[in-house]
């Protein structure tokens, strides 16, 4: 079959757009089409990945074994202390539990676990089947909380209730049970919470370090390398800085209305956005000394990294990239970072973007860039070939698609092993992009070798 013969599913036509074209508004935030082979996941997945890095909490998955098995230590969210979050605990519901209800089993499991591990709090995740059989998870949690004296929080994450994004909200709601439950007298005015970074490859540590260098106390990191106690005191901070907007905006909004803590959005991917985040925080506190410290920090870091990036960006000039990530906000930063490497983003998409996100993407991309919401394998492959890209940035399911087509790949999701955030992250990112794009292996891939017209089978 020839590339150009492949149709886009007609129901999805309005979820694909091009920069620089007038006309139809982008459709998004729709349920995925059945049978479209979407790259998206479910509510439980969203809750689990967001709460995952709370390292001294117990995470018990109430449901059949699969949901626990697949989320056992998959996030790579590093901890500077406790490792309890990396264990996989499940009620492993069996047929009889589904018939008679699993509340008793849940209760026993919680008691056994709390006695064994003395966690600081427990999160109990409801899965699809629990939603259907109607176990009263909240009341079991309340009972265990009374008996054991620690917060035991029901996470309403039944998979079918929507997509991953709805799971983020359920996670935020769960966290709101903790926020505001400890006194905050000792927290200084120059203090923030870092929201929406998950400490993959130690990224939260990099970011935290910047603020501390500026003289700002980081009260809690939610949820990268998080501790229950810090989250309980998070309402003592003066400002919330939200990175992953998709997951954490709801928490920030609630904290604003409940505790009067304002929030700003930030991104730490790329030099431009990292610097902007630090300046924005300094501006918020309206303190000339703080601004001065931010300026010094940025100047010092930029001077260090620019020369290192330069040699990669020379080699990458004119190369083309496709970006398909979870949240749209990350896509903005990636486009800017790629620009700094002299690369052109010719395809960009997200799993969870909203209308205004896509408007921003349309405005910031060059004419002709394909913009896509909730893409599937077929579309992604088609775009890679159509635009003849040199680099694909995505997650685990996208990696082999890129490789099979003879295209370099950079993981910007759970599976990154090196930190890509902050100034030093930009150096790592440049190096990784350079290495994969210029890898000699592509010379041996038939398609890239011959540059003939491309075909699908």
């Amino acid at each position: 079959m020839k590339m150009t013969d492949i149709d886009i599913l007609s129901d999805r036509k309005r979820q694909i757009n091009k920069a620089g074209t007038e006309g139809l508004a982008m459709e998004c935030e729709k349920h995925s089409l059945a049978g479209a082979v979407s790259q998206r996941a479910c509510v439980f997945c969203g809750s689990r990945v967001v709460l995952y890095p709370v390292t001294d909490a117990l995470h018990l998955i109430h449901g059949p074994i699969g949901c626990a098995a697949y989320t056992w230590d998959i996030r790579g969210a590093l901890s500077s202390g406790p490792q309890l979050h990396r264990m996989s605990f499940s009620t492993d519901l069996r047929e009889m539990d589904v018939i008679h209800g699993g509340e008793n089993k849940l209760y026993k499991s919680l008691i056994e676990l709390i006695d064994k591990y003395n966690p600081k709090a427990a999160f109990v995740y409801s899965t699809c089947v629990v939603g259907v059989i109607g176990d009263d998870v909240a009341s079991v949690c309340a009972r265990v909380k009374r008996e054991k004296g620690i917060p035991v929080i029901a996470v309403h994450s039944e998979g079918f209730k929507g997509s991953k994004k709805d799971g983020y909200k359920a996670a935020c709601d769960a966290l709101l049970n903790l926020v505001g439950t400890l006194p905050v007298d000792t927290i200084p005015r120059l203090s923030v919470n870092i929201l929406g970074d998950f400490n993959i490859a130690g990224e939260s540590w990099i970011i935290k370090n910047y603020y501390e260098k500026m003289g700002i106390r980081v009260v809690s990191t939610i949820t990268g390398d998080a501790r229950v106690k810090d989250i309980m005191q998070a309402h003592g901070a003066s400002l919330n800085i939200v990175q992953c907007s998709g997951s954490m905006t709801w928490l920030a909004q609630q904290m604003e209305s409940n505790y009067g803590i304002p929030y700003i959005r930030a991104s730490y991917f790329g030099i431009e956005d990292t610097a902007k985040a630090l300046y924005d925080v300094a501006d918020f506190f309206d303190d000339p000394e703080l601004t001065d410290r931010a300026r010094k920090l940025v100047r010092c870091e930029v001077e260090k990294v620019i020369p290192q990036i330069k040699r990669y960006s020379e080699a990458l000039r004119g190369k083309k990239a496709a970006v398909y990530v979870g949240g749209a906000f990350k896509a903005f930063s990636l486009i800017k970072s790629l620009r700094m490497l002299n690369m052109d983003t010719v395809v960009v998409g997200s799993q969870t973007g909203n209308k205004s996100d896509y408007e921003v993407l349309k405005a910031m991309c060059n004419k002709g860039t394909i913009i896509v919401d909730d893409a599937n394998t077929l579309e992604l492959a088609r775009f890679i070939l159509e635009k003849d890209v040199d680099l694909f940035i995505g997650g685990v399911k996208e990696r082999p698609i890129a490789y099979k087509l003879g295209v370099g790949f950079c993981d910007h999701n759970h599976e990154r092993k090196i930190a890509l955030a902050g100034f030093e992250g930009m150096v790592n990112f440049s190096r990784e992009v350079f290495n994969t794009v210029t890898s000699p292996v592509w010379k041996f891939v038939p398609r890239r070798q011959t540059k003939k017209e491309v075909y699908f089978d």
Binding site: C45, A68, Y70, S109, G159, A381, K397
Partner: protein, 460 residues
């Protein structure tokens, strides 16, 4: 260290599974379905299940894994998933053009009671299934069995939906393959060819999940058992199921539908199990065992004799799927090693019984557990109480390996942190040599690492 959370004191657990040694049915059904040529697996439930299964298979095989999902929402879980599945069938045939859609259920669609055959016939009636294309299905609620059971169910569905007895029997042997790697399936085909035997191997994931780099993304790579082969399998002379847990149901189904007699053997891992496989093939075909195979066997036995001194008495802990663990245990016993701790999350009494039969009086202090609460946590507790020299199992053993400083040989599913498992076989005599090489490599590396200066030697 991650597993400092593990305590030595073993308490009876009733409700809780910690660090499971299994996962759920649908991923097995998805893997088996990929062994049909031109097949698109389809997950009838929430899209998270499908996403997790695809991710896990992708991490293990490093290959693109395609599968549809019915993308259940709250509406579907209240009113049933019929509309979703009909739409999915329509979309999949229209855009992805598979020969077969292999539907498996999830705990959600099972609990609300969706009747898949009824929905599929509805799709057929409304013209959503093109002429000559097929939709097959199996039921795989996640709260029953394990991923192995899911695999078995889909393999059985292949027989139920396709196998036909035309009345014209032939000399072909059906090899119904348990859950092994694509490389193992290729090796089984090679051995059959050496035995001069016409076979139909199903499922067959070779050339599907180890597809070569061609610069093309092939949605349906050239491998996989064809629908035509599956249909003709009903005319075969005999069926051999390899792996009781994953193939016995299918072999029985083939017999009762098409009158093909069968036997069920262990997966040919190790010396004895491979011997039985080769002998059985020779017996049912009447063919002579060629010298080349005898030579392969001889090379394995030769390696064992050469290396005995490093093997005997070494204590080993194993975990994973019963069909792999059973012959592996036997192989270790044949090597005079001591497989002392064995767990498999897959339920089924036969597992513990068979392991005890094989290892029983030859392995002192044998601990074996299958099914509920047979998990990696229990395994770790056993090891903490009395250590072993070697671990053999999937990726999840790496925590124990690190915490207890014990070498780990990766084998089984999933392996997410190494390569080779999908490329180099571990079945047959050659595959067993590779296992032995792996075991010796682990043990000797360890000896070298720990040897004091005065006993560190060049030759081993």
């Amino acid at each position: 260290m991650l597993l400092r959370h593990t305590s030595e004191k073993i308490q009876e657990r009733k409700a809780l599974t910690i660090n499971p040694a299994k996962t759920c049915q649908p991923i097995g059904a998805m893997y088996a379905a990929l062994g049909i040529h031109g097949c698109m697996p389809h997950s009838h439930g929430s899209q998270g299940c499908c996403s997790y299964h695809r991710s896990t298979l992708t991490r293990h095989y490093k290959e693109p894994v395609m599968s549809g999902t019915s993308s259940f929402t709250e509406g579907a879980s209240v009113f049933g998933g019929q509309a979703n599945l009909v739409q999915a069938i329509d979309n999949l045939f229209t855009i992805y053009d598979p020969q077969v859609i292999a539907v498996h259920t999830t705990c959600l669609s099972e609990t609300i009671g969706d009747d898949i055959p009824q929905i599929v016939s509805k799709a057929k009636d409304s013209g959503k299934v093109p002429e000559g294309k097929h939709v097959i299905h199996c039921n795989t609620p996640s709260y029953v069995g394990s991923h192995v059971t899911g695999y078995a169910n889909m393999v059985k569905a292949m027989v139920t939906y396709f196998a036909q007895n035309s009345g014209d029997k032939n000399e072909t042997i059906n090899l119904i393959c348990g859950w092994v790697e694509p490389s193992d399936m290729r090796e089984i085909k090679r051995l059959s060819q050496m035995l001069n035997t016409q076979i139909i191997l199903f499922p067959d994931t070779s050339n599907v999940l180890d597809a070569p780099q061609t610069g093309k993304l092939q949605f349906y790579p050239k491998g996989g058992t064809t629908v035509d082969q599956l249909t003709k399998a009903g005319d075969s002379k005999y069926s051999i199921g390899l792996g009781k847990f994953s193939t016995e149901d299918a072999a029985k189904e083939m017999d009762s539908r098409c009158g093909v007699p069968f036997s069920v053997l262990d997966v040919p891992i190790g010396l004895s199990a491979t011997d039985r496989f080769i002998m059985e093939m020779a017996k049912v075909t009447g063919n002579k065992i060629p010298d080349e195979i005898t030579d392969e066997r001889g090379r394995l036995v030769d390696m064992i004799t050469d290396m005995q001194q490093y093997l005997y008495g070494k204590r080993v802990a194993l975990w994973g799927d019963p069909d792999t663990i059973i012959p592996l245990t036997e192989f270790l016993v044949d090597l005079e090693m001591k497989p002392v701790y064995i767990v498999s999350g897959t339920p089924g009494k036969y597992f513990e019984k068979r392991i005890t039969e094989i290892a029983g009086d030859r392995v002192e202090g044998l601990k074996v557990k299958g099914g509920s609460c047979a998990d990696m946590f229990l395994m770790h507790q056993w090891i903490k109480n009395e250590p072993v020299d070697l671990l053999i199992g999937n990726t999840y053993g790496k925590y124990i390996a690190r915490d207890e400083d014990i070498p780990l040989l990766r084998m089984g599913f999933p392996i997410m942190d190494r390569v080779g498992h999908s490329c180099f076989p571990r079945v047959g005599y050659n595959g067993s040599m590779r296992i032995l090489e792996g075991i010796l490599g682990c043990l000797m590396d360890r000896l070298d690492r720990d040897a004091p200066e005065e006993s560190f030697e060049l030759v081993m």
